[in-house]
Amino acid sequence: METNNVILEAKGISKSFPGVQALQNVNFRLVSGKVHVLMGENGAGKSTLMKIIAGIYEADEGDIFLHGKKVAFTRPKQALVNGIAMIHQELSPILDMSITENLFLGKEIVKNGVLDYRQMNEKSAELLNRVGLNLPPTTLMKRLSTAQQQMVEIAKALSFDSEIIIMDEPTASITNREVEKLFAITRKLKDEGRCIVYISHKMEEIFQIADEITVFRDGCYVGTYNVDEIDEAGLVRLMVDRDLSQIYPERHNVPGDVIMEVEELTQEGIIDHVSFQVRKGEILGFAGLMGAGRTETMNALFGLTGPLTGKIRIEGKEIDKPTPRKMIEAGIGYVTEDRKGSGLVLDMSVRDNIIMASLSKLSHMGKVNFKKANEQSDEFKERLKIKTPSMEQLAKNLSGGNQQKIVLAKWLMQNPEVIIFDEPTRGIDVGAKSEIYRLIASLAEEGKAIIFISSEMPEVLGMCDRIVVMSEGVKKGELDKSEATQEKILSMAANVVNGQEETV
């Protein structure tokens, strides 16, 4: 590969956190005018390296050269003014401020001692225009979708005229349509001679957008490849250092009796007359675009959100006014979409998280039987192969895949009959993904009913017996595995949404 046009070079970078060697003697370089994708399992060190380059962490060892000059940023601001911007996976805009105020935060334009809003708004309109976001710059940030907020972040990077723009899993929570837009802008930035660093787990996307791909494994640099000299299987092999022969496991069981029936579930303005059934040993998929009302349906069903109308029957017994407690007792488990937001208590130990939903069963007169709790949680740790130095480790110190397994363990300990999985593989790496697929399949084979929400089409097609397609809070249809194709699902899911998107 050519060595000219190198913008940034990192040599011998090492970094450790308490208990983890995050990076080990890593060498890395970035070239202008290219989209550089970073791949690797969770905990492989991609984000850590990027955070060092962006001045968020400091390296324990090693040097970084920007245009051949040695630099050591200790604050994000330093990296920013030197042309390196990082757009984080979880955006943190100030929601009650306008786009302009967010864009100019920390570098407000002042005239005669007071803020010059007119000039700032003009400039931000110009920046928004460059990223194809046609909104008044005075719009409050909280009115924007995640994708739009991302565009504002990119605009912010442009306002610093950043040469290197690092995007950490930018497509994790935006719709397919928005991904297209993001890619269009990414290509435009590339043509301007900037270098885009792109961290992602989504294979199809990577091959659409990448020029170069660098693979990390266990904190080590594996190699950098031109996109045309490597394929998907090859990448996976490099990332996990083993063959993943079959991603989606085969099942042989036939679904049994109906265990849960939902009739005309309605929540004013959110979901509209949603009905479905799920059988023992069946995996029922819920497909649709982001915001189609799938999560909302499950939240309502589980009693997390306000009053609803409609009927829920579990094993023939009607559940009146569902609450999480009632649903858990009726045998429902709910692995929510937002692991950190509603799945885990990050400041609690692995063990306390696992036993959290089962404490009633593990207690006598309110007193917890810790011997039993320890035995059972150890058992699930083994069964799910949760990698942690100890059960007393805080959940926040584990990788995404292992955190997801903690949430799974929490629910499996309840021994539920119906388990709802909402985007169970979002943001976790290929290795952990296939483990979770196998686990879900084996639960179905045991006779559990599974509801599987996913926005990744291949996953839905690969895993489910039946697929419910939703859009705009309405069930659009249902497809059997034998008749389901990506095109059919998309056309069901998209018809209303298209109309809506045009009005935005």
Partner: protein
């Protein structure tokens, strides 16, 4: 494997540091005071410190429960005053048995706790504001109740609660020990305790796990109120009177002990043992400064610096 193992030992080491750094501070302080004063290391004085710590200790235990859920209880001082004044009035003017009056004082604390907890849990109101309101209302109720005059001439048998000893130990200290044990067991061995941590750590995750978050919130304010009632009983017996201005600023001492003890004000993290050590540290410092004849105006400054030090250590630890 080796990294996992070293992570484990590092974790344990960190844990030990957290648990024992306060003990170490207390010991060092004890040694310094023993050397610099003649009277610190005498049984009378040590028992005196234990007696002094009891009221703030009891309040701080209730406060810790609230702070663990990410809340705060500013009404503590006023609730102590109101419970105390009602108890004093009943002791002076009614023929109710003492233990019934004690129960009434505790019940008043619990009711004020329900007030706080109800609005925090079921109206989603900010704890700071709700308990601030309760603080003002409680103080007002107290003055209205006694018309601004202290109530004294309490029966001698009652004063024993504040001034007596059993087996050489001051009764207030024994009460503190009992409250501590109950609180400790509740937090550590009962599911309610786990729920308190879970609600403070992430109320969404707690909700999804089937925990009745509102009920837990209500509960911690009731517990804090009960602790106020108990503290009121001790205080009234110690000063032999119900005073309308009693308990002024007690909430701040309780919060200080909680924070010095390592409980995070954002909730979900902290230990009751730390709180007791925090209360003990405050009591020892003020006792020591008294013995060293330091002007009480300076004592305030020292106390403030200790609180600041504790929070700095905590924020460094969380980095």
């Amino acid at each position: 494997m080796s990294t996992a193992k070293s992570a484990k030992t590092a974790g344990i080491k960190k844990n030990l540091m957290e648990t024992y750094s306060l003990v170490l501070v207390l010991l060092v302080l004890g040694v310094i005071l023993s050397v610099t004063t003649n009277s610190f290391l005498t049984p009378t004085n040590l028992l005196n410190v234990l007696r002094q710590v009891s009221i703030n200790g009891v309040l701080a235990i209730g406060m810790t429960m609230v702070v663990l859920t990410g809340g705060i209880d500013l009404s503590v001082g006023s609730v102590v005053a109101f419970s105390g004044i009602v108890a004093a009035q009943l002791l002076r003017d009614s023929s109710l048995p003492i233990f019934v009056i004690v129960l009434i004082a505790v019940a008043i604390g619990a009711v004020m706790g329900i007030f706080n907890g109800y609005f925090v849990a079921y109206w989603n109101a900010a704890p700071f504001v709700v308990t601030l309101a309760c603080m003002t209302i409680g103080r007002g109720l107290t003055y209205v109740f006694c018309d601004g005059r202290p109530i004294s001439n309490l029966p001698k048998e009652y004063l024993v609660i504040g001034k007596g000893s059993v087996l050489g130990l001051p009764i207030p200290t024994i009460i503190l020990a009992l409250v501590f044990i109950i609180g400790y067991v509740l937090l550590k061995h009962f599911k309610v305790g786990r729920y308190i941590y879970a609600v403070g750590g992430n109320d969404n995750a707690a909700l999804v796990s089937g925990i009745n978050v509102k009920r837990i919130l209500l509960l911690v304010y009731i517990l804090s109120g009960i602790c106020c009632g108990i503290a009121a009983v001790i205080l009234t017996a110690r000063v032999s009177a119900g005073l309308p201005g009693a308990g002024d600023g007690y909430e701040l001492d309780a919060i200080a002990a909680t924070v010095i003890g390592g409980t995070s004000l954002s909730g979900g993290r902290g230990k009751l043992g730390g709180t007791i050590l925090g209360a003990l540290l405050l009591a020892m410092v003020s006792n020591g400064l008294d013995l060293l004849n330091v002007n009480s105006f300076y004592q305030q400054i020292v106390k403030g610096l200790i609180i600041l030090g504790a929070i700095l250590i905590d924020s460094k630890r969380n980095k």
